[in-house]
Amino acid sequence: MAIDIQKVDEIVFGYEQSKESLLPILQDFQREFSYVPEEGIKRLSDIFGVPESRIYAMATFYKAFSLVPKGRHTIKVCMGTACHLKGAPFVVEAIERELKIKPGQTTEDRRFSLETVNCVGTCALAPVVVIDEDYYGGSTSENIIKNLKRYT
């Protein structure tokens, strides 16, 4: 996928040229492109004079960064203790079957990315699925598929 290099420059030159700026720049990449693109890392390395390997290592270290494009909507299935006991694994399985992706992957049409998370802090609603900013409590393998249809 081609990346607008001008957009990359806009982000990079908006920061002071120091090591401390690397992380916020990567965060901006993630927000702007929904992932950290290879071209972005290369360009950043050229401008800042920081080895490409070091920036790439940072991008692989933090869970907040993705090196492949994310979908338009992110599905987070809570796998914390309460949700797990209340059947979260079945919910994940149902989503996997419906979208034909595994956790950590994105559908081919880039509509959804699927993730499992460890606790979203709303155990009373277990099992919880968070799609973008919406919380779906008491999810089952049936109602979650219906809820997915709201997102295009």
Partner: protein, 242 residues
């Protein structure tokens, strides 16, 4: 440089303040094992943890890594107590579970009397080859070579040294310093006639004009000429024929 005295295994020895325990121990003929320690790099990460020793100071004892523990006034080090031995054996067991194929670790395990680790071996999709992820290769590439072609990727159990995107590195000069420095011989480097293959990239080797032996990658000559301004003619002959 302030000289101070401290005690190691009951022997009083002299050291420079803040020098690391491992260095002084080795200078005084006291053996402390260690894989990831290399005096060529500025700071030892203490990641293999084999050099654990007992540090007694101000009436307290703690287990510390000798490779990066600074020597201070009044310090007493014990390298061979039963506690140290027991903990070290556990560490070797963990290393053996991580890299069951490494000859270096197997040898250490045999010395410590371990046949099989009690822990689940990293096999199948968790296979790490022989790498213990100590990061020495990365430090050498950055500090000694000055190239930073590799870095520590991912984290947790997936932590592994590598090139960006696992693609052949554009900046690597093929010097092989990472492979030489690796304590467990985990970085594959193939020298084949006048080519060398490392980190997925093939390098053309420079031949000695006298004996005809391939002895240095062309890319490494370019790098040395570029960074030091040395005359290229110097590299016509290999170190043996100079």
């Amino acid at each position: 440089m302030e000289k101070i005295k401290f005690v190691i295994d009951g022997k009083e020895v002299e050291a420079i303040r803040d020098q690391c325990v491992l260095d002084v121990a080795r200078q005084n003929g006291i053996y402390i094992p260690g894989l990831c320690y290399n005096p060529e790099v500025k700071f030892s990460g203490g990641s293999c943890r084999l050099c654990l020793v007992e540090a007694h100071q101000a009436g307290r004892m703690s287990l510390v890594t000798a490779c990066n523990y600074p020597i201070r006034e009044g310090l007493e080090i014990k390298t061979d107590t039963s506690l140290v031995k027991r903990i070290r054996k556990g560490i070797i067991e963990l290393l053996l579970a991580r890299v069951p194929d490494s000859d270096v670790i197997k040898e250490l395990a045999a010395e410590a009397g371990i046949d099989e680790p009690r822990f689940v071996k990293d096999e199948g999709e968790n296979y790490h080859s022989k790498c213990i992820a100590c990061g020495l290769c990365i430090q050498v590439c950055e500090e000694v070579v000055g190239v930073s072609a590799i870095a520590m990727l991912n984290r947790g159990p997936d932590k592994t040294p590598g090139t960006p995107y696992k693609k052949p590195s554009e900046v690597c000069i093929g010097c092989g310093a990472c492979a030489y420095a690796c304590p467990t011989d985990a970085i594959p480097m193939e020298d084949n006639g006048d080519t060398r293959k490392i980190w997925g990239r093939e390098f053309k080797m420079h031949l000695c004009s006298v004996c005809g032996k391939p002895y240095i990658p062309e890319a490494q000559i370019d790098w040395i000429v570029k960074t030091t301004g040395k005359d290229r003619v110097f590299f016509d002959k290999c170190p043996d024929c100079r």
